[in-house]
């Protein structure tokens, strides 16, 4: 491999950001890329801030992506997305899954929560390209909510430059070998994500 590709992932514990990172790592590894994947576990159980860093293409590389260096940011929650902006490379792609997990203080009206416009403004300031997708776009699966992280994974491969260096079939293969149960639900969401177009921002 003669090039490198750095991905910074953020979200809230329980959203399945770790799974996205693990699937991308495994697919990249199976495609012959050198991989370093560093999820920050810490105390990020369900409901806490979660981040992970995936560095592709270099044999020896430190786990942490320097600021202004990530080719791609995958953000699964609007407010937590703000914590990834400093890592975006100018000209990089910032993929936002615009879900809102309001902390208690926000629910009770004791703290403010950022608007989508505010996040968009920051991405623009950081000279990145914002791609927004919305939970409404996730098709239900037999009346149940679909698998949002697999949907986002599909979006990543279809809408960002990663899709041109990581074949979707390779990723599907990893998905198929990962789960004994629920493959259909996950593949449905993954494929729907690949068909999705950017959510209109007004």
């Amino acid at each position: 491999m003669d090039r490198s590709y750095d991905i910074y992932l953020v979200g809230v514990g329980g959203q399945g950001v770790l799974t996205i990172g693990e699937i991308l790592s495994e697919a990249a590894f199976q495609s012959g890329w050198p991989v370093n994947f560093y999820p920050t576990k810490g105390m990020a159980q369900r409901g806490g801030f979660f981040k992970a860093q995936l560095r592709l293409g270099r044999e020896t590389i430190g786990p942490n992506i320097p600021e202004r260096s990530a080719d791609l940011v995958i953000a699964m929650e609007r407010s937590e997305a703000l914590k990834a902006i400093r890592f975006l490379k100018p000209g990089g792609v910032f993929l936002l899954w615009d879900s809102v997990w309001a902390p208690t203080a926000v629910m009770l009206g004791q703290a403010s929560y950022p608007s989508l416009e505010a996040v968009a403004e920051q991405v623009t300031k950081a000279e990145g390209t914002l791609l927004t997708f919305h939970p409404e776009q996730l098709p239900p699966d037999q009346g149940q909510p679909g698998s949002d992280n697999l949907f986002v994974l599909g979006v990543v491969l279809a809408a960002t430059p990663l899709g041109s260096i990581l074949p979707a079939q390779q990723v599907e293969k990893v998905i198929e070998s990962r789960w004994k149960k629920g493959i259909e639900r996950n593949l449905l969401a993954f494929r729907a994500g690949r068909e999705a177009t950017e959510y209109p921002r007004d």
Partner: protein, 623 residues
């Protein structure tokens, strides 16, 4: 000879260490859970190998003593811990350092620069210096795998325990490594060696002789490290800058050099010493650098240990050049290092003007909504915190007047909103000692200590015995969820039979009354009324009172036996007082514009919200 089957797969730094220990023939492996070190033992327990004894020990000191005992009997043994655990184990470690070992003994310690797991930025390299023990530090996942067998070899050749140190970003990194798939533990015939001069500390003569031996073993280790080629010195074609990297800074060097290429960085004038043995100091390699360089830059995270030793060596060798690093004020002793710090060090040494924006991004973090972490939906600790708060109120005490000391683990989350119950956090078991200090300082209101079950087994028991002996009037609440939960659900002595890998369960409900406490209560923290009443009963009494708040961790209980129950809403009764949210802070309850919503997928049915609700808008669903 059997052929070795290799398989390339993605593994974590901790798994690499565990697999490396198996390659190295370790047959006794012990540890106590602690982020970021826990996954090494976790992996070995999930993949048991006949002939290898693996256990979660009661604490790190016990773990180390077991591993050392095995190494004294001639086996290869590994003890694993986070840096806080090394502090606990050090009392024994210094003795093992003095005695040395016959079988290989490796101590894995995981440090946490940048503090991702909460605690201190302790640089455990200081322990290697203090104990005169060799310490090896891998810089990649693959190197971790390859280094552990060498650490055992070094330990046996030099006759000394050997540290392997990793940091969070490496322990938790995942990379592809070609690993062995089958292992043969080096199971030797155990030896019993009677050698008072080596294995006891009986008198000054013995101890002084051991101290001399220790110093000799360290210089022997330096020789062995050189023979084994553990460190790498790359002497540049031209004179110029010498760079010493160690641990993770080595992994960032290439990226930093590439980043500096647009500034005409001349690599042919940069010699690099990639240091894997951070202790003992690599005198010979450094002498080569002195002969070949005009100045030397040290890139090390946290404390300037190598830099300090280098300055001493430079003085002794009359090296005239500059030593650069932290002591000249350029690089920081605080926080995790990455490419930016490596670039900064190189740029300063080479006089390269940097733009402020290089690796410095737009900080939008402060615009994010604060997200304090809380206990999981269904967590039994939630009931205990609410009960403490209610009991204080019902006893007509002010919350600011009742000291509730805290401890390590999930139980510390009682410090966060909405509970704001717990006041402090120090170290394993410290809640009880602190509480006794508040009692003897003359605090007139009830003093409460809170601690989890694993933490109590680890370091709480001696302190409870102390409270009983000295009759310190306090209330200890043991939040017993049956697991070492915060670090990822490890077993402890109190874990239920069936889930218990140790084979025998110790029941706190039997142990504690036998320690001579004055009052003992056992409650189910899902029963808010009973828990609150026990507290109201206990708090005003004199003597040592222990409340065992017992209910299995909701996550583990869900996996093992299913959810605790169900609640349902009677929306017509709800007046949107939000008490369920403001009191429980349960992640399963949210507020929409005109109603409370309970996420049934997340709800464990603990029904604490139903017990809080004054209007029967949330009720327990029977059957």
């Amino acid at each position: 000879m059997e052929s070795i089957v290799l398989h390339k797969q993605i593994i974590s730094g901790n798994e690499a260490l565990a697999l490396g220990a198996l390659v190295g023939g370790a047959s006794v492996i012990t540890g106590y859970p602690g982020t970021p070190s826990s996954e090494a033992i976790g992996y070995l327990l999930r993949n048991p190998l006949p002939g290898v004894h693996v256990e979660w020990s009661t604490n790190e000191k016990v773990a180390l003593e077991i591993a050392a005992g095995a190494a004294w009997a001639g086996q290869r043994a590994l003890a694993t811990m986070k840096m806080s655990g090394l502090n606990v184990a050090y009392d024994s470690l210094i003795s093992f350092a003095y005695s040395g070992c016959t079988g290989g003994l490796v101590v894995y310690v995981a440090d946490d620069p940048g503090v991702t797991a909460g605690m201190a930025e302790q640089d455990s390299r200081g322990f290697a210096l203090m104990a005169d023990l060799p310490m090896l530090e891998p810089s990649t996942v693959e190197e971790a795998y390859r280094l552990i067998p060498k650490a055992f070899e070094l330990s046996e050749k030099a006759g000394t325990p050997v540290f392997v140190r990793m940091v969070t970003a490496l322990s938790h990194s995942h990379a592809a490594v070609e690993v062995q798939t089958e292992f043969t533990p080096l199971r030797r015939e155990p030896q019993l060696i009677r050698d008072i001069a080596k294995y006891t500390k009986a008198g000054a003569a013995i101890c002084l002789a051991q101290h001399r031996d220790l110093i000799q073993r360290l210089s022997k280790a330096e020789e062995v490290i050189r023979e084994m080629g553990i460190n790498q010195l790359l002497v540049a074609p031209k004179r110029g800058l010498g760079v010493i990297v160690c641990g993770l800074t080595a992994s960032y060097l290439e990226e930093a050099m590439v980043a500096l290429q647009p500034f005409n960085l001349d690599r042919s004038g940069i010699s690099v010493l990639k240091l894997v043995s951070t202790h003992p100091f690599p005198e010979q390699e450094v002498k080569t650098l002195f002969d070949h360089c005009d100045q030397i830059l040290v890139l090390e995270e946290l404390e300037p240990y190598i830099e300090t030793a280098l300055i001493v060596a430079a003085r002794r060798s009359k090296f005239p050049g500059l030593i650069r690093g932290k002591l000249d004020g350029n690089l920081s002793r605080v926080g995790e290092y990455g490419t930016r710090e490596v670039v900064k060090g190189l740029a300063q040494a080479l006089n390269i003007p940097l733009s402020d924006s290089l690796f410095s991004g737009l900080a939008a973090d402060s615009m994010a909504a604060p997200r304090p972490i809380t206990v999981c939906a269904g967590c039994p600790h939630r009931g205990t915190y609410i009960a403490i708060n209610q009991a204080i109120r019902k006893l007509k005490l002010k919350k600011d007047a009742v000291m509730v000391t805290g401890d390590i683990g999930c139980t510390i989350l009682g410090m966060n909103p909405p509970f704001n119950t717990v006041w402090n956090e120090v170290s394993m078991g410290a809640s009880l000692g602190l509480a006794q200090g508040y009692v003897w300082s003359g605090v007139a209101t009830p003093v409460i200590a809170t601690i989890g079950d694993s933490t109590f087994f680890h370091a709480g028991i001696p302190s409870l015995i102390n409270a009983v002996q000295h009759q310190a009037s306090l209330t200890l609440i043991i939040l017993d969820n049956g697991w070492t939960a915060m670090t990822g659900m490890q077993v402890n002595p109190g874990t239920a039979i069936g889930a218990q890998s140790g084979g025998h369960r110790l029941d706190l409900a039997q142990i504690i009354p036998m320690l001579g406490v004055d009052w003992f209560f056992q409650v189910d923290p899902y029963d808010l009324k009973a828990t609150t009443e026990a507290l109201i009963d206990a708090l005003p009494r004199a003597g040592v009172k222990v409340i065992l708040a017992r209910r299995e961790c909701a996550i583990q209980s869900l996996r093992r036996t299913g959810r605790a129950g169900r609640v349902r809403q009677q929306a017509e009764n709800c007046n949107l007082c939000k008490l369920c949210i403001t009191t429980t802070g349960c992640p399963a309850i949210s507020l929409t514009e005109n109603s409370i919503v309970i996420d049934q997928a997340l709800c464990n049915g603990c029904a604490l919200c139903a017990q809080i609700c004054a209007r029967e808008a949330i009720v327990r669903q029977e059957g």
